[in-house]
Symmetry: none
Subunit: 306 residues, 2 copies
């Protein structure tokens, strides 16, 4: 049987207390079938982002365990932080990686959401591809007004949770669970300290102001380096290929006579995104990811195991 692989990126509302962060991460360590790729706590956001990859069974078990730790240690009544949130376990997105369709991932999110509610009593909203109401595709709609507003408004039919009674958990709030594509964080650093240039380029290329459909972007100053950055999220790299995003930034930068100094892939990236871009620049015809020996070995090892 073919092994299905997913990514899961649970976000917890704790980015300051080291002992709590370590206790939440503990269930993800040394666990067969659930690989801990990365975890990052941000003090200002007061938030912990964990990246996992592996098989859906072990990942779900580990996330449930970690959620119970978070519920026992985080009190949303006292939580303050710069990042929007509605619960101690704020969001849990599942991402199909290998041998899995988005539909299967949506099913997984729904099944997990029901079990999560049964086990913890925390009400659940489904978002992105797993949304049951069209407006809930967008996370910002579900999180509108954050924990503090949702506590009162959850009784309005339009804000009822998808799983659970219309009231929040007294200390853990609510959790937003979903399925989405892999998100790539991609930054382009420009050889100028003029933030206007980065802002103009971001405006030209991002969806919200009429650019590429699946790209979000802002301009940022990198003051310590005397550079500015176009900081982007590519939410569908299969439709807005990385090379196309970069070439559009390069095109816009030329208008300002500003060079691209370097780029940065922030965090994890699927092999396909880089392979497609390599194929573009190198004019490789009919390239098949199955030609990459590590990808084939991964497939073979996966097949042998089950």
């Amino acid at each position: 049987m073919v092994k299905q692989l997913i990514e899961c990126v649970p976000n917890f509302s704790e980015g300051q207390r080291t002992d709590v962060i370590e206790a939440i991460v503990e269930p993800f360590r040394e666990r067969k079938g659930c690989g801990l790729l990365d975890y990052r706590a941000d003090k200002d956001h007061n938030r912990l982002v964990v990246s996992l990859a592996g098989e859906s069974g072990p990942i779900q078990e580990a996330v449930l365990e970690a959620a119970k730790v978070a519920i026992s240690r985080i009190d949303m009544e006292r939580h303050r932080g710069g990042h929007p949130r509605v619960g101690a376990i704020d969001v849990i997105p599942f991402v199909p990686l290998q041998n899995m369709t988005m539909e299967e991932c949506v099913e997984l999110a729904h099944g997990f959401g029901r079990r999560y509610h049964e086990d913890t009593g925390v009400p659940v909203y489904f978002y992105e591809e797993a949304a049951l109401k069209p407006e809930r595709k967008r996370l910002e709609v579900i999180r509108k007004g954050q924990y503090e507003a949702l506590k009162a408004e959850v009784t309005n039919p339009g804000r009822h949770p998808d799983v659970g009674e219309p009231k929040l958990h007294p200390s853990a709030g609510a959790t937003v669970i979903g399925a989405r594509k892999f998100l790539i964080a991609f930054n382009v650093n420009l050889g100028t300290n003029d933030i206007q240039v980065a802002n103009e380029i971001a405006r030209a290329i991002r969806a919200s102001s009429g650019g590429l459909r699946h790209v979000k972007g802002i301009g940022l100053a990198l003051e310590s380096r005397g550079l500015v950055q176009v900081s982007m999220n590519i939410v569908d790299f299969e439709k807005n290929a990385l090379y196309r995003v970069l070439e559009l930034v390069r095109t816009e930068a030329r208008r300002w006579g500003v060079p691209v100094v370097e780029t940065e892939v922030y965090g994890m990236i699927p092999a396909a995104a880089l392979l497609e871009s390599a194929s573009y620049y190198m004019q490789i015809a009919n390239f098949d990811p199955k030609q990459v020996i590590e990808l084939r070995l991964l497939q073979m090892l996966g097949d042998e195991d089950t």
Copy 2:
């Protein structure tokens, strides 16, 4: 115990007759411990390249079986094709992939070569790391003049095989067996039918005529497409990066006013080669292969096994 993994890339002199190609490939299918990564037949080259990865025992068994099929179906007296060759089974390189040294791989090649000759009667030359004479490190020295010349010259002491009597097999010629690093077959197709242009470019970029140290190259006509090709082997992609090879070809092609129409990665390629080239063209700073999700998964699965 740690699993030793090798790659093996037998090349057969048949790229046209579908039934023969399928019969040769058959022993590699559904075989435990021997994964069929890829096989490609090229009509103009009249050649079949099979890529295998797995454990050395099962791979050797399967290659012997396939060789016997090739011997029974291919007659070198009637073979024509654009690629240099000396036998029905032309070359069999073994490549260490995981938990194996080059020295162990050389031993494996020598042992296999002796058994191969016993079983088939085909004389064997050892090349690259497995060469027993320094000049035979280079495949082109062994294949000089190809099958047609070797048939006569095999009686010269300098061209005696390393295993077997000094005469070729009457229909299957000779086989060159060796151990080497991972070899990337990379072709660049040019928008002209002037073979001179491909020859000149090959001359400019290959080691033997003063070009890049770890690149071999020849010009070939792709008659069915009206194009010519610079057909290259990159024998150490860590030292001669793929993008650098391509940019040198592009530079030389400009001299002739000839466009690069497309390129081709023929057979398997290690992820690192494409990631390095993607990083170059995209100016990605400080890129770490551990950021590629599939490479992390492979590492995790491999660790679990042992």
